[in-house]
């Protein structure tokens, strides 16, 4: 149990951070994190220590995709868009001196939400969570060169999404 607890404490922020950026919803990210770590409890003896992070992130990504799919289905069923509520919960306004940077972060989060997979995952893992290419390659089960290409493509997609915002700011 203590080994497991140690691993949970080592990786929980990675799992939660990925889930929060992927889902843009703190409560949903908590649920996913809990489910993933419980699943890890069931399998932790089968997972090699040096592959634990890759295993956790792969399971987290799949859990996020499933959860988003279910959430989308529910939203369609009740025809209520709760995206605004989600953002209100997940966005904390910073003091005035950081307001501009915070606003731009909000724009990035919003733009990231419109980036399709696997680019979104690659961007989160590489650019936000600063994982090594090898770790991302393991987590997403793709060659390292492909990860590098996807990082650039993903950021290009963000650049297109944010073009209007940036031009508006600089005008």
């Amino acid at each position: 149990m203590s080994d497991f607890e140690q691993q949970v404490r080592q990786y929980q922020d990675r799992v939660f951070g990925f889930a929060q950026y992927f889902m843009k919803n703190r409560e949903a990210a908590q649920d996913v994190t809990q489910d993933v770590l419980i699943r890890f409890w069931e399998h932790h003896e089968e997972v090699d220590d040096d592959r634990t992070l890759g295993w956790l992130l792969r399971v987290t990504r799949n859990a996020c995709i499933d959860a988003l799919r279910k959430r989308k289905t529910r939203r369609n069923a009740v025809t209520v868009n709760t995206e605004g509520l989600d953002r209100a919960q997940s966005t904390k306004r910073a003091p005035d001196d950081e307001a501009e940077a915070s606003d731009f972060r909000d724009h990035i989060e919003e733009a990231l939400d419109h980036v399709d997979e696997p680019y979104r995952s690659v961007i989160i893992l590489r650019e936000i969570q600063h994982l090594k290419y090898r770790e991302i390659s393991e987590a997403l089960d793709m060659p390292m060169n492909t990860v590098k290409v996807y990082v650039h493509r993903g950021r290009k997609k963000l650049r297109k999404q944010l073009a209007e915002v940036i031009e508006h700011e600089t005008a």
């Binding site: 929980q12 939660f16 950026y21 419980i38 990035i108 650019e127 936000i128 650039h152 950021r155």
Partner: protein, 195 residues
């Protein structure tokens, strides 16, 4: 050109590509702006906050893991408790001595199996057994024990899973059968009569 902006910002272009790219940058402000945008996005991404997992999530995970861990340990207990409870309720008064004998036998055989499996085969055919009991007593005890085993086996089968029956067969019924074999060989087969 557009595909190379991010690679240029990350310094991933070869020397030739970089020189060519910078030649175009010098002449076209549009690409200068794109490089500037790309840098700003990359820098902002790198400075995004790192969320911390709330402690209640960790607590919930550890608590569930502990519960499941304890639950696994009590599954076996639960099965055996169920058998004994069933035996206690359904066992007819006349069979209780047989059950007591079978239980004693099972404890002896199982514990000897766990401690020294090699010694089990000869456990009951040691001289002390045949010296202490008459052939009739041994035959009667064997018959009672077989009935008890048959009853317990039936209870085990009604508990459901194949796994549990397999555990019962491997750890209880088979060792007792093996232990009784020397007695059967010396006294001849004794079949329990139908109830």
């Amino acid at each position: 050109m557009d595909d190379r902006v991010e690679a240029y910002v990350d310094g991933d272009l070869s020397a030739d590509e970089r020189a060519r790219f910078e030649g175009i940058l010098d002449e076209q402000p549009h690409w200068q702006a794109q490089v500037s945008h790309a840098k700003r996005i990359r820098d902002a991404l790198h400075r995004m906050p790192q969320p911390t997992c709330p402690p209640q999530v960790t607590d919930a995970v550890m608590s569930r893991a502990r519960r499941r861990s304890n639950g696994q340990a009590t599954t076996a207990e639960h099965w055996w408790n169920w058998i004994w409870r069933e035996l206690d309720i359904e066992m007819q008064t006349g069979w209780k001595p047989a059950l007591a004998f079978a239980t004693l036998l099972m404890i002896i055989v199982t514990s000897s199996l766990l401690t020294d499996p090699q010694s089990t085969a000869g456990l009951l055919d040691q001289p002390t057994v045949s010296q202490q009991y008459s052939p009739t007593e041994i035959q009667r005890a064997e018959s009672q024990a077989k009935w008890a085993i048959a009853y317990i086996a039936q209870v085990g089968q009604t508990t459901g899973s194949t796994m549990e029956r397999a555990i019962f067969e491997e750890h209880m019924a088979a060792p007792i059968r093996r232990a009784l074999r020397p007695l059967s060989d010396s006294n001849g087969p004794t079949q329990p009569s139908n109830r």
